[in-house]
């Protein structure tokens, strides 16, 4: 209580048009403290981050750093001296080199000119601290998502600020990456740096943080030491419901009938440079997991199954009929539904309504003769909104006005709209809050229970837990297969290629 808080925000109000994103919230992070900020999608966490880093000016309220009032809104240098941040949105410039992205606008200058040689060597050293082996001369657009995320993290941490904000930094990282990040964070914490850490993975909160603040519906709910708060109480605080007994979702024990007929089958399917020939069978009532870290080829496998990419070899059949390779419409017609990895890139048409986005795959079923009847569209969307609990002002709201988790639900609604025989979902719960995650995984399970099938490609254990069977993918090869009841360690080890198990696949 003696040293002034690293950051103290009081009575912050922020409105976007009619939406109140923050409603008089407060937050205090003490020096050297690692403070978690949690809440459901759209609770206002990212908005607070923008306010704390000077990107948005609050409509009301004050922010102080170490007891001093926050810098003037335009004075970015002063803000950067106070606080560094990894934003939820990608803040790399795709056409600049990695080195330049790391030192954007704070170049190593001798006189007026930028000294590129020194900049590169500094960049190389900085990246090496995180074990990221990237040529600093490469353009950022050529990096993988994970590498890009590390570039942003390295940049934020290199400012030497005493306060660092990380808004969902782990959403794009695999387990190894997360461990490397955490080690670095702990090191910094020992040096007295304070953190504000935002994540939907409560496990990470318990692992890293000492204090937690919960926001709900733009309001502050509670702040407490992490140690004093059981996980189910934390979830209850986030969702505003009485504590339930389950904290991480487990598939119900309804076993799929073993003799269920094959819904989706891939034979000797291969894509050069991504994954080697593999076989894969999903039966009626079954959820198949494909576990794989960032570069394992899992995403490519998912995209190949749904026709976004053409395989270099092999065959895909749905219910015995061969699907034309590399064609989304045919895959869709054959009964494959798709939840893409990146909803902003492949999932949503931002300015169009929730109804339109949700019915994008079934536009041919909404009226006779190629027409799309507004009444049917709305009815369709209303059903989806109700059954998936999408928080929206109505089917006509533009989908860009929804929070991340709700946007994700719209994407899932879109995939389910066509009533697919087999749902293929790539990291379906990325950036989605706990409650929504349960709901979404529940939906996947329901699909299976209704006698259909699903494939989940993910590296999140929570996602994989709902699966009946999990294939572990490493560097494009199936290295292991697990049945229900696997141990976390074993699966993680397999994903990281630590065990070369008895040649996977069937």
């Amino acid at each position: 209580m003696d040293a002034p808080a690293a950051v103290h925000a009081q009575g912050i109000v922020k409105r976007f048009g009619p939406t109140v994103a923050l409603d008089g919230v407060h937050l205090t992070v003490r020096p050297g403290e690692s403070h978690a900020l949690v809440g459901r999608n759209g609770a206002g966490k990212s908005t607070l981050v923008s306010v704390l880093t000077g990107l948005h000016r609050p409509d009301a309220g004050t922010v102080t750093f170490h007891g001093r009032p926050a810098p003037a809104p335009g004075d970015r240098a002063a803000w950067q001296a106070e606080v560094a941040c990894v934003y939820q949105k990608s803040m790399v410039v795709p056409d600049l080199t990695v080195a330049e992205n790391l030192f954007l606008n704070r170049f190593d200058q001798r006189g007026a000119l930028i000294h590129w040689g020194r900049l590169r060597s500094r960049a190389r050293a900085l990246l090496a601290e995180y074990g990221v082996e990237v040529d600093p001369d490469r353009r950022a657009r050529e990096l993988t998502v994970e590498q890009r995320q590390f570039v942003e993290i390295a940049r934020a941490l290199s400012f030497g600020a005493r306060l660092i904000i990380l808004d969902e930094p782990t959403a794009q990282l695999d387990a190894g990456g997360i461990q490397r990040l955490f080690r670095r964070l702990r090191e910094l914490r020992r040096q007295g740096v304070a953190f504000l850490f935002i994540s939907h993975h409560l496990r990470e909160v318990y692992e890293l943080c000492t204090t937690v603040t919960v926001y709900r519906d733009a309001r502050h709910v509670l702040t407490a030491p992490v140690a004093d708060l059981a996980q189910r109480d934390l979830v209850a605080a986030m969702t505003g419901n009485a504590p339930s007994h389950r904290t991480s979702w487990q598939a119900p024990v309804v076993r799929a009938p073993d003799a269920g007929e094959t819904v989706l089958r891939a034979e000797r399917l291969a894509l050069d440079g991504e994954f080697e020939p593999l076989d894969l069978t999903v039966r009626r009532g079954e959820v198949l997991g494909v576990a794989g870290a960032a570069a394992s080829g899992g995403t490519a496998l998912g995209e190949t199954l749904v026709g976004l990419r053409g395989p270099t070899a092999g065959r895909i059949t749905v219910c015995g009929r061969t699907v034309r390779p590399g064609s989304v419409p045919h895959a869709l017609a054959a009964g494959i539904g798709y939840v893409p990895e990146d909803r902003h890139r492949q999932g949503l048409v931002p300015h169009r309504s929730v109804a339109e986005n949700a019915t994008l795959t079934v536009a041919d079923q909404l009226g006779p003769f190629g027409t799309v009847l507004p009444s049917r569209t709305r009815a369709f969307a209303a059903r989806a909104i109700a059954s998936l609990d999408i928080r929206t002002s109505g089917p006509d709201q533009p989908v860009s006005g929804l929070s991340g988790g709700n946007q994700q639900k719209v994407v899932i609604a879109r995939a389910l709209a066509s009533e697919p025989h087999c749902l293929v979902a790539v990291r379906p719960t990325a950036g989605v809050d706990v409650r929504s995650k349960q709901a979404l995984l529940g939906v996947v399970r329901e699909v299976a229970a209704a006698g259909r099938a699903a494939v989940i490609v993910s590296d999140e254990l929570d996602d994989l837990r709902v699966c009946d069977r999990v294939l572990a993918l490493f560097h494009g090869r199936v290295v292991a297969e697990f049945d229900r009841g696997w141990a976390d360690q074993a699966l993680v080890a397999a994903m990281e290629g630590a065990i070369e198990q008895q040649g996977g696949g069937q």
Binding site: P350, L360, A363, L388, G394, P398
Partner: protein, 344 residues
């Protein structure tokens, strides 16, 4: 599961919902953004000259808008699907010329064609030429993946050159009967071109609102990757839109030729800027996925009314162009503030 869902929905703070329902929504406002501008222009026109509000004058304004408005319709469809086509302004001239070249007799006239085909084929031929041009644009943009703006700019120059080459730079004044009929007849006292144009706009508007493929355009323009992942055949739809756009431009050429009784080598020269201006002040986004045909139509009318009011008002010829430019900017600013959306 479903129980929880119900519960949650009931939980949502009720204030928010009501709030959103009551306001008309930016999308709709955007379409009406130009109506105040048109109203003001009408008032000014009425003050400036009593002739403004006569049927003759207003029908005249509308008729003069027909060809431009068809190009705007074409460009609007293309813009909504996230592309651009500059070559429309040449298509309006080259398509009729090629059609006539194939149809007109090889001897005797001022302009000697090839006389390969009978006269009644001239309109279909003209449309066919439009289709072919659209297909070439589609090939360049979708197969070769070159920049659409510059590719169609090259096409603009090339097609204009083709027209000059074929017509030997002359105006062609022997216009086939079917052209003249479409361009110059009146139905119910209003030029046929106006009816056709309105019908095409209505058709296009309905297609965008209620047809599967119409809605696909918005998805395509808003986020092509998402559209692809949702099973829309992106390249095919884009190609169809490009062809359709050129087809409409060729049809505008038919109307133009009929209306003015000749094809001049400069037909449509410099129109593309007006086309873009009309579309954008009418609320179509240059980056795709946003806007309506109704908005585009108000854009065309605004531009045409400006010319009409300036003529009636007897603006000094030397300052005509200056005023025209200034009014575009003012209309743009008004349309931006009336719709309340940033336009970038």
């Amino acid at each position: 599961m479903t129980d929880t869902t119900r519960q949650l929905t009931a939980d949502a703070p009720p204030g928010r919902l009501i709030n959103r329902r009551s306001r008309p929504g930016p999308a709709r406002l955007r379409n009406l953004a130009l109506l105040p501008v048109i109203l003001v222009l009408c008032v000014i026109g009425f003050i400036v000259s009593p002739a403004f509000l006569t049927t003759d004058n207003l029908v005249g304004v509308v008729q003069q808008s027909t060809e431009l408005s068809l190009l705007v319709l074409a460009e609007a469809l293309i813009l909504i699907s996230g592309r651009m086509d500059l070559s429309l302004e040449s298509t309006i001239g080259v398509a009729p010329v090629i059609a006539m070249w194939l149809v007109l007799p090889a001897h005797g006239g001022r302009f000697n064609g090839l006389g390969l085909l009978p006269g009644w084929t001239s309109v279909p031929l003209c449309l066919l030429v439009g289709l072919v041009i659209g297909a070439v644009n589609g090939f360049l943009i979708l197969k070769l993946r070159v920049n659409g703006f510059i590719a169609t700019l090259g096409m603009l120059t090339m097609l204009r050159g083709l027209q000059v080459g074929i017509s030997q730079g002359q105006s062609i004044v022997t216009v086939p009967g079917s052209f003249s009929y479409l361009g110059a007849t009146a139905w119910l006292g209003v030029p046929a071109a106006v009816w056709i144009c309105l019908a095409l706009y209505a058709l296009g508007g309905c297609a965008l609102a209620w047809l599967r493929h119409g809605r696909a355009l918005y998805a395509l323009g808003g986020n092509p990757e998402a559209a692809r992942a949702a099973g829309i055949r992106v390249d095919r739809v884009t190609c169809v839109v490009l062809c359709l756009g050129s087809l409409l431009a060729a049809f505008a050429g038919v109307l133009y030729t009929g209306h003015y009784g000749s094809v001049s080598a400069t037909q449509g020269n410099g129109w593309i800027f007006q086309v873009f201006a009309a579309a954008v002040i009418g609320g179509i986004s240059l980056s795709g996925g946003r806007g309506t045909l109704f908005g585009a139509l108000t854009g065309v009318l605004t531009l045409q009314l400006v010319v009409n009011v300036m003529t009636l008002g007897g603006v000094p010829p030397l300052w005509n162009q200056f005023l025209g430019g200034a009014i575009i900017i003012v209309a743009l600013v008004i349309s931006r503030f009336a719709s309340g959306e940033r336009q970038d």
